[in-house]
Amino acid sequence: MGEDFTQQIRDKAKELLENGAVECVIGYETGSDGVSARPAFIYDAAEVDRLAFDNTCTHNLVKYLLDKKGKSTAVVVKGCDSRALNLLLSERQIQRDKVYVIGVVCPGVVEWGWNKRSEQLQKRCNWCRQHTPVVSDFAVGEPITEEPPAEFADVAEMATKTAEDRATFWRDQAERCIRCYACRQACPGCYCIDCFVELLDPEWVGIRIAPDENWMWNTIRAYHLGGRCISCNECERVCPVNIPLSLLNRKLEQEVLDLFDYKAGMSEDAPAPLITFKKDENLGIAE
């Protein structure tokens, strides 16, 4: 996989930069530890050999397109990342004709750290039902058409606990949170210029780093991505204190699937569930 994918991405990037189709190619390169990948921004065709693709290419590069508004840019996406692209397109954050999508059929990414990599797939890859990008202008790899049905075992397990245990669990998580907002910064769906958490009037979340405030932040962060989260799980990966944010995101993903039969980022036209409604739905409210 690695060599072949890398070569295809390099060739395409070279072609795009040489004929001036794009100003920048956002892809992956091997980091300075020589093992793990990091995002790479290539502006010059002579530098395309920096680009690489292997199973440590974990970052969701679509996030960077938000800084490239109006500029022609090529981006390397995996299956999950491609859904983020659709999300941003449907929310009119980026323009389709300014983005050239190099879609890689994702073999799954592994757990890695500085100067080391394991062979163990990341959690998200076990849940992943979208190895093939949903949108691409240039496809790398053989598309995978058959995916098993979605499963939510971790969410179901949490739901078997008592309410008090669940509250205690999330209380403990909130206690560990340092509100560094890495989860927000890594998330392609979190692009509000004025995030509610930083507003002073009204001050939704106090500046104090304490369980109450942290609980509020984590609850609303998850909720604001309800029906929008595309399960790239970057938020959880970048969390320095390892809060299982995927549990919240996946709970919402499951509910959105159950209530509205909707999966985020599958098309650029489908309206998000919370900006639309049906008159005759009940949703278990005020029966």
Partner: protein, 136 residues
Amino acid sequence: MSEDNSPLVIGFLCNWCSYAGADMAGTSRQAYPPNIRIMRVPCSGRVDPLLIVKCFEEGADAVLVAGCHPGDCHYTEGNYHGRRRFALLRDLLDFMGIEKERFRIEWISASEGKRFAKVVSEFTDEMTKLGPRKVG
């Protein structure tokens, strides 16, 4: 939770139906528990989920959102939007340990004073039985 251990319920009532319904309960001398603290909002669609989560963060035992019946919204579709948001939020809060029962959504029209009193009485009773929130 107040000092005498009775639940603290925050009520968000829409200006056009439920708030008038509460008024109706008052003017027709229907008694209902004083546990509910009422906020008047323009529409149930105005009730930002942030407001509800903030109530729970600040220690409320329960939250009631009441608005016009579906189809009767003063702004045509505010309560339809609200309904979707609340359905999702209720599930998320339940998952985080705030029982579904603690967050109630009701449609109460301006003429349903009696029903408003009944809803608040029942809700308060239920919350007294459920007891205060144990964590958070």
